[in-house]
Amino acid sequence: MSMETQEEGMGARFAKAAAVAVKKPYFAVFLVLGVVTLFEINVPSFGAYGIPKAAQVMMLMATAVAKATLVALYYMHLKYEPLVLRYVPLVPLGLVAILVLTLVVK
């Protein structure tokens, strides 16, 4: 591939990324983060309704993962980045899971 063609390809790629940028749902993500956080704050009171602590922990971890994913995808723009950049933070998460499980599991 010649340099000119390659540069044009890159230009088109960046132009496409810029075009996608105007459609980013920043406010919707903000609303979801706020509502989910409101839910999280109330989770500790679920014990009064017979929901066990383990279930509460699972709920809180699931909501935390969901919120973090939203921030990473939309606010950190991973959704709009080249695939290779998405793998940069994804790959170490497997190692992190091993580290945390090794430390936590008795």
Partner: protein, 273 residues
């Protein structure tokens, strides 16, 4: 590949080389400082002095108007050729931070899961959940204003850009201020200290894990606040950032959102579970 790299080199040009020694000085500061923690404590102060020198030098160099290229500039040959090298650098830094915080949170969870009671037998958590919930909303809002700032400069809307960036800075300062207030109440009011004290020795482990997790996060937020302050300084200078050249905004934003993500996990783990 050699040709591609040569072409990239040519665009930057040997005379226009934009490398800086200051990131290396900062890395050296970190290395010496952390080595001091585990070997010879006075080295920590050497690390801090180097850190301040490195930051000041880097900012001075940047403020002098050194051109670091435009946001769409292709970078490395190979698989990362569509990714800006500075953005890639920030993401790799974030990866190292993921390991850092995972180790801290993992160790705290290890202690907690092995403890028969938490925070201690017959003791309720001294933490102020409503206050911290407010702080959580503040940090989430600051992430929103940060992306609004980026949106503003991308569209060339300087009013939105500057206003949102200033709002992000103020929200960051508010977060840190509330955390300082919380620490003050816990330290002097509840006698929750990072070490064992004679008044409430039963809270020693809880206190250590609490301050370690929230303290390191707070330190990162404080660092982000300094970054935002510098970004604001540049933003209010005419034509410093433009719709075509504003990568620093995105990169500081990446760091700020990462700090938000860490809190997204810390808040339920430390306060709600």
């Amino acid at each position: 590949m050699a040709d591609e790299h040569a072409a990239t080199q040519g665009e930057h040009g040997a005379a226009g080389h934009h490398g800086s020694v200051w990131p290396f000085v900062l890395a050296l500061a970190g290395g010496i400082g952390f080595a001091g923690i585990i070997t010879f404590f006075p080295l920590v102060f050497v690390g801090i002095a180097l850190l301040i020198t490195g930051l000041a030098g880097w900012m001075r160099e940047d403020a002098s108007g050194v051109k670091f290229g435009e946001i769409t500039h292709p970078t490395e040959p190979g698989i990362f050729k569509f990714v800006s090298v500075r953005k890639l650098g920030m993401w790799l830094f974030i990866v190292s931070e993921i390991f850092f915080f995972s180790a801290i949170i993992g160790n705290s969870l290890a202690l907690r899961t092995r403890a028969p009671y938490w925070p201690a037998p017959g003791v309720d958590s001294p933490l102020n959940i409503p206050l911290t919930a407010v702080n959580t909303f503040i940090l989430i809002t600051s992430s929103f204003t940060m992306v609004q700032a980026l949106k503003g400069i991308e569209k060339g809307d300087l009013r939105l850009f500057r206003g949102a960036l200033l709002a992000t800075l103020l929200l960051g300062i508010t977060f840190v201020s509330i955390q300082v207030y919380e620490y003050n109440k816990l330290f002097f009011g509840e006698h929750l200290t990072p070490w064992m004290n004679t008044i409430r020795p039963e809270l020693a482990t809880f206190g250590t894990t609490f301050y370690m997790q929230t303290g390191f996060h707070g330190a990162h937020v404080t660092g982000g606040v300094f970054g935002l302050a510098y970004l604001n300084y540049k933003a209010w200078k005419k034509d410093w950032f433009t719709p075509k050249s504003h990568e620093a905004v995105e990169i500081v934003g990446l760091y700020w959102h990462f700090v938000d993500i860490v809190w997204i996990f810390l808040f339920p783990i430390v306060y709600l579970i």
